[in-house]
């Protein structure tokens, strides 16, 4: 599904190198958690996979469904099934949720060779999927994320994930800024969306999200490289001991 090999990424225009040889393999249906201290490159990885501008890939490759990911524009990647749940969802004043989602869903469906949804089908789909994350159905009249609370914005990301039915969902610190109840709702939403053909890349700073969503693999990203991979138990160890012991190991391995 996704094969990242020795990926090096800098900030555009000769800026600092952030990812320094990252490799990762994700198979269909797997849930991978990427953890790591602040500034280790977690969000950069999410951005580069989704196609945000401002980064430069200096070497390495990312193959997604057998295709060189960097050959595709951000919108093409989305139509090919990559979904990024934003750490900071963007407010779009004047763009209604229903218009936004209709455009998005129909773009993706068209690409998959599926028919446009009728207005009725679309409304029903919106209603059902909004219920998954406990969003008020009246939100369709509202502008995208405008006036949404922090929790609503994050739930809205998972709602969009449910609408677009991606094959690779990247959750960029979806747990940040959520209270315990919202965290539970979002996690249940994600769990309900797990499929044998849908993989998840869950980027998080804390272990608490992984109490609700059980990952198949946990990777620790330190200074632009994965320094440790393991089962969900690794997340618990990190919660107890922090990242420092890994940072030391990372330095040793470099030396």
């Amino acid at each position: 599904m996704l094969e990242i090999t020795d990926l090096h990424v800098c900030v555009e225009d000769g800026g600092t190198e952030i990812l320094k040889g990252l490799s990762l393999s994700v198979k269909a249906g797997e849930v991978h958690a990427i953890m790591g201290p602040n500034g280790s490159g977690k969000s950069t990885l999410a951005s580069v996979l989704a196609g945000r501008s401002g980064y430069e890939v200096t070497s390495g490759s990312v193959v997604y469904k057998g295709v060189d990911l960097f050959e595709l524009e951000a919108d093409e990647r989305a139509r090919e099934g990559i979904f990024l749940a934003f750490q900071y969802p963007v407010e779009l004043p004047g763009v209604s949720m229903s218009n936004f989602l209709r455009q998005a869903v129909n773009s993706v469906r068209k690409h998959r060779g599926e028919d446009k949804l009728s207005a009725m089908e679309f409304l029903k789909m919106m209603k059902d999927r909004a219920a998954l994350v406990g969003l008020d159905p009246s939100l369709k009249q509202r502008a995208v994320n405008e006036g949404f609370s922090g929790g609503e914005k994050k739930r809205n990301e998972i709602f969009q994930l449910a609408m677009l039915e991606p094959t690779l969902a990247i959750l960029d610190e979806t747990d940040s800024g959520l209270d315990i109840d919202a965290l539970r709702i979002v996690s249940e939403g994600v769990n309900g969306l797990r499929r044998p053909d849908r993989s998840f890349l869950i980027i998080t700073h804390y272990q608490r999200l992984l109490n609700h969503i059980t990952p198949d693999f946990v990777h620790v990203l330190v200074d632009g490289r994965i320094v440790q991979s393991g089962s969900k138990d690794l997340a618990l160890k990190l919660e107890e001991q922090g990242y420092d012991w890994l940072k030391e190991e990372s330095v040793e391995s470099v030396n």
Partner: protein, 447 residues
């Protein structure tokens, strides 16, 4: 004066004194107009009011001043054909009752030709025509007067409440380089209410291409008598190449509410002089509008709100999208005179540039002589938000669609201020069409 001479000569040929000796009042108005035009001349680039709009550039053509006298088959704008509301149709500025759908006689409103009105009440009507808001004088206003022959007069009598919106449209049929100078006078008596739409779109005799060479110098005067409420709209969409200089003069008596929404969608030159004089206490003045300046367009909005009396509010919101090599100018002058205490004036101008070669000149001009007032303004010019574009694209929406959605959203709040739903939907459709025609890449080159 070489350029002016052509206009003066044409005026003399058309309106030689004595040719129509009976209409002495029109002659005298024309003579006044001509005299002011001769003394002022067309604006020079050094004049502050025209600094960014070298208007002479658009005046060099060998214009003709009379339209087709027998219009034959008139093609009405779609909106005018389909609406169930009142319509007033003019052809080349002349009122055509047979093409119009007027309010019934149960409503105390008169719609007639300016010529007829001048004939019936020469002193009253010429008095209105001569009136200009202080500071609103400009040579185009004089030139329009110099060529005055007819026009449209709408008189809403006291206590009349118009039950449906009234659309005014003016169809242009003339030679290719037609210099067209229509005039509209609207007088709303005390405690009246009306919604009036002035629509200048591309429909006409021979279709869209027909308008490509026209130059319109339009004057609309609106007199709002005490305690009246006028909701006014101006939609300009003549098509590529058409030129417009528009003067709007609004005079408000006490306790009146006047609002306009100025929509500009096409044309090579669009210059608007929008002048408001709330000349009594308790007036509300609202000026809203947006301009979509596509390739080859030059749009210049000059507004003047002259607060002379206390306890008045004015609120102004103009938004613009400027593409490719287009230029837009916004000059918002708000004058608060010494006696105009407790004035509340707010002005906002926001613009999005879609290309490196697009230009925007935005200038708020607040002149305040009273000490107990609230005045504020804001002007911003920027580009579309990259993160917003990325957000849409990350959901599978293509770049052109994402951009169109954000641009539509940008002007959507001004569209939402159009209280006539049929008109709002029509304008939104025109916006989509106009935006679809903007192909130029963004500054960020679209990635």
């Amino acid at each position: 004066m070489v350029m002016e001479k052509r206009f003066i000569a044409a005026q003399q040929v058309l309106h030689t004194n004595g040719r129509n000796g009976s209409a002495g009042i029109i002659e005298s108005l024309r003579a006044n107009g001509l005299a002011s035009f001769i003394s002022a001349g067309f604006p020079l680039p050094r004049e502050e009011q025209w600094k960014y709009t070298p208007v002479r550039k658009w005046l060099r053509d060998d214009f003709q001043f009379t339209g087709t006298s027998d219009p034959g088959d008139v093609q009405l704008p779609e909106l005018i054909s389909s609406t169930k509301d009142y319509t007033v149709v003019c052809v080349n500025g002349v009122f055509k009752p047979e093409l119009s759908r007027l309010p019934g006689s149960e409503l105390a409103i008169t719609v007639t030709s300016l010529q007829a009105a001048l004939h019936d009440e020469p002193d009253l009507i010429s008095g209105y025509l001569r009136r200009t808001n202080p500071g609103a004088e400009n040579p185009f206003l004089s030139l329009n007067m110099a060529f005055l022959s007819d026009g449209l007069y709408i008189h809403i009598l006291a206590d009349t409440i118009l039950d449906k919106p009234l659309y005014i449209t003016d169809i242009v049929m003339g030679p290719e380089l037609f210099f067209h100078q229509p005039r509209i006078l609207i007088v709303a008596e005390n405690r009246s209410q009306a919604t009036i739409i002035e629509l200048r779109d591309r429909a006409g005799h021979r279709g869209a291409a027909h308008n490509a060479g026209i130059f319109e110098n339009t004057v609309t005067q609106i007199h709002v008598s005490a305690s009246s409420n006028i909701d006014y709209y101006h939609v300009y969409d003549r098509g590529a190449g058409a030129r417009l200089v528009r003067t709007l003069n609004v005079y408000q008596e006490r306790d009146t509410t006047f609002s306009t929404n100025e929509v500009t969608l096409s044309g090579s030159l669009v210059r608007k002089n929008l002048n408001f004089l709330p000349d009594g206490e308790g007036c509300q003045t609202q000026l809203n509008g947006f301009y979509l300046a596509g390739s080859g367009m030059h749009v210049d909005i000059h507004t003047l709100v002259d607060h002379a009396e206390p306890h008045c509010n004015s609120k102004e919101l103009f938004k613009g999208i400027i593409d490719n090599n287009a230029t837009a100018v916004f000059n918002g002058r708000v004058l608060v005179r010494q006696d105009a205490q407790q004035t509340n004036a707010y002005q906002s101008n926001r613009n999005v540039l879609l290309s490196k070669s697009a230009h925007m000149y935005s200038k708020p001009e607040l002149e305040i002589y009273a000490d107990d007032v609230k005045c504020s303004h804001g002007a911003t010019t920027g580009q579309l938000d990259d993160e917003a574009l990325f957000y849409l694209r990350s959901r599978g929406i293509s770049f052109p669609t994402a951009r169109r959605m954000l641009l539509e959203a940008f002007v959507s709040d001004v569209c939402a201020l159009i209280r006539v739903e049929e008109l709002r939907l029509n304008v939104e459709e025109r916006v989509s069409t106009a935006l679809a025609g903007m192909h130029i890449k963004l500054l960020s080159d679209g990635r």
